[in-house]
Every structure is written in structure tokens, then in C-alpha cells.
């Protein structure tokens, strides 16, 4: 994967994350799950910012940023509080894997960006019920 392909791949992942968090955020009850509602809202804002960062990074590399799909398949039905939290968890896990791939395919400031994002996703998923693991984002180890 070239550095530009890695940027586009990560941007595509952010498009998906923003979509999924938008759906989750609309379905979480602020009165019944205030903690989850806040965590989802923070994650939505963060991934939207990252999407914008990556769009600028792709443009800086001289390419047209990959566009978002019309819709994305949710990780699950995302109806119950448990399903909503699980969907958020799986979104962060998938993002962590994408960021890890970006670490391996970039250098300099772009690699640093990916390292920071990988760390953030790895810690953020703990707030959605995830467990610490020896190699977050690197499934084969």
C-alpha cells in the first residue's frame, strides 16, 4: 500500500465511522444512557475532525479525497443499549486496525498522526466495553 493509498483507505474508514456514530448517536437515549450518549457524541466529533484532517492530507498529497458512500452497513442492528455500545466498540476496533495499517504505510507527520489515532482508538474502545489486549489493531498477533 502506498502512502497515498493508506491515506485514502483511512479516510474511507473515517467516512464509515462518522456515518455509524451518526446513527448510533440518534438512537442512544440521553436520559437513559447519558454516559454512552456522551461517549458516542465525543467519538462522533472526533471522527468528523479526523475525516476533515485526512481530506486535507489527501489534498496536500495532490489527490482527490475518496468520497463517502451513500450509506454503510451497521455492525449490528443497533437497537438495544447493548447493541449500540457494541456497535461503537466494533467501530473503534475497525478504526484501530485501519490506523495500524496507516502506521505501516506512511512516514513522518502522517505516521505520527496514525500513531496518535491508533492510541486514541485503543483507549477509547475501553469506554465502550472493550478489553485491553497485547496488540490492538494488529489482529494477526
Amino acid at each position: 500500500m502506498t502512502p497515498l493509498q493508506a491515506l485514502q483507505h483511512t479516510l474511507a474508514g473515517e467516512h464509515a465511522a462518522v456515518y455509524v456514530y451518526g446513527v448510533i448517536g440518534a438512537r442512544v437515549s440521553v436520559s437513559q444512557q447519558p454516559d454512552l450518549w456522551q461517549r458516542v457524541g465525543e467519538a462522533y466529533d472526533l471522527h468528523r475532525d479526523r475525516r476533515d484532517n485526512l481530506t486535507a492530507m489527501v489534498r496536500a498529497a495532490g489527490a482527490d479525497p475518496v468520497a463517502a458512500e451513500v450509506s454503510y452497513e451497521l455492525p449490528n442492528e443497533a437497537r438495544t443499549p447493548g447493541q449500540l455500545q457494541q456497535a461503537a466498540l466494533e467501530t473503534e476496533q475497525r478504526c484501530a486496525a485501519v490506523y495500524a495499517d496507516m502506521v505501516g504505510s506512511t512516514s513522518g507527520a502522517n505516521r505520527q498522526w496514525a500513531l496518535d489515532a491508533l492510541e486514541d482508538a485503543s483507549v477509547r474502545l475501553l469506554g465502550f466495553g472493550g478489553q485491553a489486549e497485547p496488540f490492538p489493531g494488529v489482529g494477526e498477533l
Binding site: 484501530a96 502506521v103 500513531l115 491508533l118 492510541e119 482508538a121 485491553a132 496488540f135 494488529v138
Partner: protein, 180 residues
């Protein structure tokens, strides 16, 4: 990428260091240099990463030994450190040492300060949290500097794992699991 392939990246870097093509007329001059000068850059990075992981592993083990009440909360960090050490150790030849800035310096007055465990359980747990935070920072720096992308990816994951452990242990510490 399979585990075998990931390790092959590290092993290849190590092999390059050991079997580097050095013309005979150059050997005398090379021998005079510090060992780091003839080590593949990523093997040197791996040696530094291994030293950092080992130091935290030793601290966690020593903390578990001294404070039995912390044994359970430290089980997962211990397992993680062991996994990291196992992967890195296979990439670092026995004759490669970490850079002086990362290798523990022996103290004439006793054990290395970094693995000295405070008598108070809460302070001991806090010391492990800080060690994980420092490990996260140093491992991220190594990942940034790694020449091999595949190796950088693994180091980045190790740094993220240290961040996870720091977060989990800080939560446990704030919940009073370290005692008073």
C-alpha cells in the same frame, strides 16, 4: 500479515545485521566502531524497545511479588509485557545491546530505581501506571523512527497497548484498588 510474516520482518532485519556484507579490508575498521554502528537500524530500534518492555515487565513482576493484593489487577499488564518481550526477543540477536539511554544502569546502592517497588500499595500501583505511560511514549517514538513499515505497525500497536494498560490501571487506582 501472518505472525510468521511479521516476525520475518524483524528476523530479516536481525539477519541483515549479523550477516552484513563487509569487505575484508573494512573489517578491522568496523571492529573498532561501537557495536551500534554495524547494527541494522531497525535491530537497534528493536533492542531499545525490548529493553523498555523488559524494564516494565520486571517492575510489574516485582510489584506483584511485594503486594499480593495487586496481583490480580497486574495480571493482564504482565501478560501483555510478556507477549511484547517474546516477539521482540526473537528479533534481537544476543550480541546487540540497547542504546545507553534505554539500558538500565546498575546502582551501587541496590536494585535499579526503575524496578524498586514502593512499600505503599497505592504508590506502587501509581509507579506502574507511570511506567506504562512512559513506555507508551518511548515506544511511539521508536515506531516513528522505525524504517520498516511492518515493524513500525507492530511497535505502534505495542505503544497503544501500553496506553490501554495505563488507562485500565489508572481506573483501578482511582477506584482504590491500590489500597491506602
Amino acid at each position: 500479515m501472518s505472525r510468521r510474516a511479521a516476525l520475518a520482518v524483524l528476523a530479516a532485519a536481525a539477519a541483515g545485521a549479523v550477516a552484513g556484507c563487509t569487505p575484508a579490508r573494512e573489517q578491522h575498521r568496523v571492529r573498532r566502531r561501537h557495536v551500534e554502528a554495524k547494527v541494522d537500524p531497525d535491530v537497534a530500534v528493536a533492542a531499545d524497545a525490548l529493553a523498555g518492555q523488559k524494564a516494565v515487565l520486571e517492575l510489574i513482576a516485582a510489584t506483584q511479588e511485594r503486594h499480593k493484593g495487586l496481583a490480580q489487577v497486574l495480571t493482564q499488564p504482565l501478560t501483555t509485557q510478556q507477549a511484547h518481550v517474546a516477539v521482540l526477543a526473537r528479533a534481537v540477536p544476543d550480541d546487540v545491546s540497547p542504546s545507553p539511554s534505554t539500558s538500565p544502569s546498575p546502582s551501587p546502592s541496590g536494585p535499579d530505581r526503575r524496578t524498586r517497588v514502593p512499600g505503599d500499595p497505592a504508590r506502587a500501583l501509581q509507579k506502574v501506571v507511570r511506567a506504562e505511560q512512559d513506555l507508551r511514549t518511548s515506544t511511539k517514538r521508536l515506531a516513528f523512527n522505525a524504517e520498516s513499515g511492518a515493524f513500525a505497525r507492530i511497535l505502534g500497536s505495542m505503544a497503544a497497548a501500553a496506553a490501554q494498560q495505563a488507562a485500565v490501571l489508572e481506573t483501578a487506582r482511582a477506584a482504590g484498588q491500590g489500597g491506602s
